[in-house]
């Protein structure tokens, strides 16, 4: 078989049994792989009423048909589950080398269900699957566990997915790592893995990936690799990593400072990628087959944290545990990054939850009586570092924040006033980007994101983020150059529709979106070309994009089944009502607000969402071959608009 392995592995930790399931041609063509196949499994096998930590809940690890090949950056893996943070659909993906290894072991997808009696890890050696005791690994940081498993199995080249203590302690935003430092951060799959008493999945593969038309495939891959040499975004990402955004964000006023009360600050440059590269950068790292190598490795050289080291930082990890909580001292930020990585926490939700608590504290909604004596002043680096550990271990006030900002507001009895400061959508804290400056299409992504309030590597409306580096690209795709301006409503509905479908397809292939969105060195037509050459299929660009649309729709329908739709497609009030204040003299977006409701109706037209509910229309679902989904949603359309349902406030599910 070419491209795919043609089978998936299903492991039931309750029974200790594992089986191989064939993936038919029709199924592969319909869902492609990665996020697509995972989303289909979550929709079909995980009832919306099931608790995310129920043993019957699934966690899926999906790779794509070109994973493990020479296609640029083709080593990612998508992890999907019912999110314990939002209660809705959840997924996240990560780079590293584990995804390629899964392919070499002969699998397109791994589904884990059930719950082991005690901590275990999976050892997948090609077709052989073994469930091994992990009691001695429980409580270990990812770095330690990775080393111990490799020593135990006697193979340094094994690739391992592992969770940290936060996942074991069911912190609702625990993340998952592979190769120690490559994280799938969002939605809390690490906690779902932990709930199954699963510490890690070690994989070794000795096979290869079949390529249908090798000459054509390698010609495309070589051409694309050549293109990266002169790509402007590749240069930035290689030189200074995703922290290259710090100075841009500060200039354009979209750095989420003090829980998004500000967008720009005179000290922000201290944590810029440029500063990092000349102070604490130890070396650069690349994931499987990556032509960019945006990964950083940091070693703190001075101050109280001197000698600490670890993978990262990334922009989205550093802003929430830095400026979002009022910290600009770089070594304190790198320290927080190392802490969250060690414990296995999503830096975005962790920083977002702490920032929310800080704003509650500032506004007088909570006091030291609630926090166990912690003084949650902005910029208090000691308290933030302490809280990170308390969250991971579910100690004291940390136990409350371990449930995420929205649930914490409820646990503390703060009502609507408390929820107002959570800066979250559908129960998930937004990443560190303020749509009042970063862009309106990006902000729409926060409202409609099918994994909750996260456009971080999701809809990824990068035509307005990095489009200025590619003159003419907005016109080529959207028919106009005006949408490149972040704070215009022109063309943004279509921008979201196109990029959301495109990104879903990229996640089905499991290639890195830094090659297809941030950088536009690999366009849709290129992806179709290498996909067809690898698999031997003859899929058209239209069919390719339609797969992306299908994936978005089944995920949206999962939310629909939870009665989450049009009314929940919104963003925090702050972005709509509070004009952006001035933080630095040359900040470009002073006074800006984000009129999300002006853009959404246009977006719905492209999606053909039902304008009464925001659910995917029966017509579009049937067009996408999702008749069974249409049937599921039919009785829920009227229910969603019942008076009782309209009165409900849904901060999470």
């Amino acid at each position: 078989m070419n491209g795919w392995s043609g089978k998936r592995l299903r492991v039931d930790l309750s029974t200790g049994k594992s089986i191989s399931e064939p993936l038919s041609y029709e199924y592969r063509r319909k869902w492609i792989g990665g996020r697509g196949m995972n989303s289909e499994v979550i929709y079909s096998e995980v009832p919306t009423t099931l608790d995310a930590f129920d043993p019957e809940a699934r966690v899926c690890f999906g790779v794509g048909p070109i994973s493990g090949t020479a296609a640029p950056a083709s080593g990612r893996v998508t992890i999907s589950c019912k999110s314990p943070l939002t209660g809705g659909f959840g997924d996240s993906n990560m780079g590293g080398h584990w995804g390629a290894e899964v392919k070499y072991a002969g699998w397109d997808q791994i589904i884990v269900q059930g719950k082991a009696k005690h901590p275990v890890y999976l050892w997948i050696d090609d077709e052989n699957v073994e469930i091994r005791d992990a009691r001695h690994l429980w409580g270990k940081f990812p770095r330690e566990a990775d080393t111990m498993i490799k020593q135990e199995l006697g193979d340094e080249d094994i690739h391992i997915v592992v969770i940290g203590p936060a996942g074991e302690n069911l912190v609702r935003y625990a993340c998952t790592f592979n190769d120690v430092y490559r994280a799938a951060g969002r939605c809390g799959q690490g906690a779902v893995i932990g709930s199954k008493n699963l510490k890690a999945i070690a994989v070794r593969g000795s096979g290869s990936v079949g390529i249908a038309r090798p000459k054509e495939f390698f010609d495309v891959c070589n051409r694309l690799r050549q293109g990266f040499k002169d790509d402007p975004m590749r240069k930035f990402l290689y030189e200074v990593g995703s922290l290259s955004l710090i100075n841009v964000a500060n200039h354009d006023g979209w750095l989420g400072i003090k829980n998004f009360q500000q967008g720009s600050h005179p000290d922000a440059h201290l944590m810029s990628g440029e500063e990092h590269a000349t102070t604490v950068l130890k070396h650069r790292e690349g994931c499987f087959a990556c032509p960019i190598c945006c990964g950083r490795f940091t070693e703190i050289k001075e101050g109280e944290h001197a000698g600490e080291y670890g993978g990262g930082p990334e922009y989205e990890h550093s802003v929430p545990t830095g400026p979002r909580v009022g910290i600009f001292e770089p070594n304190a930020i790198w320290h927080n990054m190392i802490l969250t990585n060690n414990y296995g926490l999503d830096g975005i939700e962790c920083g977002g939850s702490i920032a929310t608590a800080m704003e509650w504290y500032e506004k007088g909604l909570i006091t030291t009586k609630d926090t166990g004596g912690l003084e949650l002043e902005w910029g208090n680096a000691d308290v933030v570092a302490k809280l990170i550990g308390m969250i991971a271990m579910r100690e004291g006030f940390g136990d409350i924040l371990a449930d995420g900002a929205s649930r914490a507001a409820e646990r503390l009895g703060l009502g609507d006033e408390g929820q107002k400061y959570t800066i979250a959508t559908r129960g998930m804290c937004l990443p560190g980007d303020d749509p009042r400056g970063l862009g309106f299409a990006y902000g729409v992504g926060f409202a409609i994101g099918t994994r909750g309030g996260c456009d971080h590597l999701r809809c990824l409306a990068s035509l307005e983020l990095s489009g200025f580096m590619y003159p003419g690209l907005n016109t080529k795709i959207l028919g106009d150059e005006r949408p490149v301006k972040p704070t215009t409503t022109v063309g943004k509905g279509y921008c979201c529709f196109y990029e959301e479908n495109q990104k879903a397809m990229v996640d089905c292939l499991n290639v890195c979106c830094f090659t297809t969105h941030w950088s536009y060195a690999v366009l849709t037509a290129d992806q179709v070309e290498y996909f067809n050459a690898a698999t031997g299929m003859d899929i058209t660009e239209e069919e390719f994009m339609e797969v992306g649309e299908r994936v978005v729709n089944i995920e949206r329908a999962y939310w629909g089944r939870m009665l989450s739709g049009l009314r929940e497609d919104t963003i925090p009030e702050r972005f709509m009502k509070e004009p952006m204040p001035q933080g630095t003299p040359d900040q470009t977006n002073v006074g800006a607000t984000f009129p999300v409701q002006k853009i959404l109706p246009g977006y719905y037209k492209y999606r053909d969402y039902d304008l009464e509910t925001g659910f995917p229309s029966e017509r579009r679902l049937k067009m996408l071959g999702l008749d069974y989904v249409a049937k599921d949603l039919a009785p829920l359309r009227a229910k969603y608009n019942s008076e009782a349902e309209k009165k409900k406030k849904k901060y999470y599910y």
């Binding site: 003419g472 016109t475 080529k476 795709i477 959207l478 028919g479 106009d480 150059e481 409503t489 022109v490 063309g491 943004k492 509905g493 279509y494 529709f497 196109y498 479908n501 849709t524 660009e541 239209e542 994009m545 339609e546 649309e549 002006k598 853009i599 246009g602 037209k605 492209y606």
Partner: protein, 80 residues
Amino acid sequence: MAVFTKAEAKRLAELDDYYMALLDALKKAGVLDDGAHRRYMLTGYYRLVEFLQGKKLITAKQAQEAMAGGFTSLVESLVG
């Protein structure tokens, strides 16, 4: 080829959500059928321009201008 009136062209240029309106107008004028309307919604503006050139509704020069100037240039080429 005359597909739009000047007034329609002006209206399109003033819309925030111009692309769907453009596709709808081309469908109404009989240039796109349902399948083509959906195809160019999924694949983007440049594929629409290629299609119109392939159908000889615009010349190669007009297609080039449509790619440089965006949909307003395209619409101008289609004004009767």
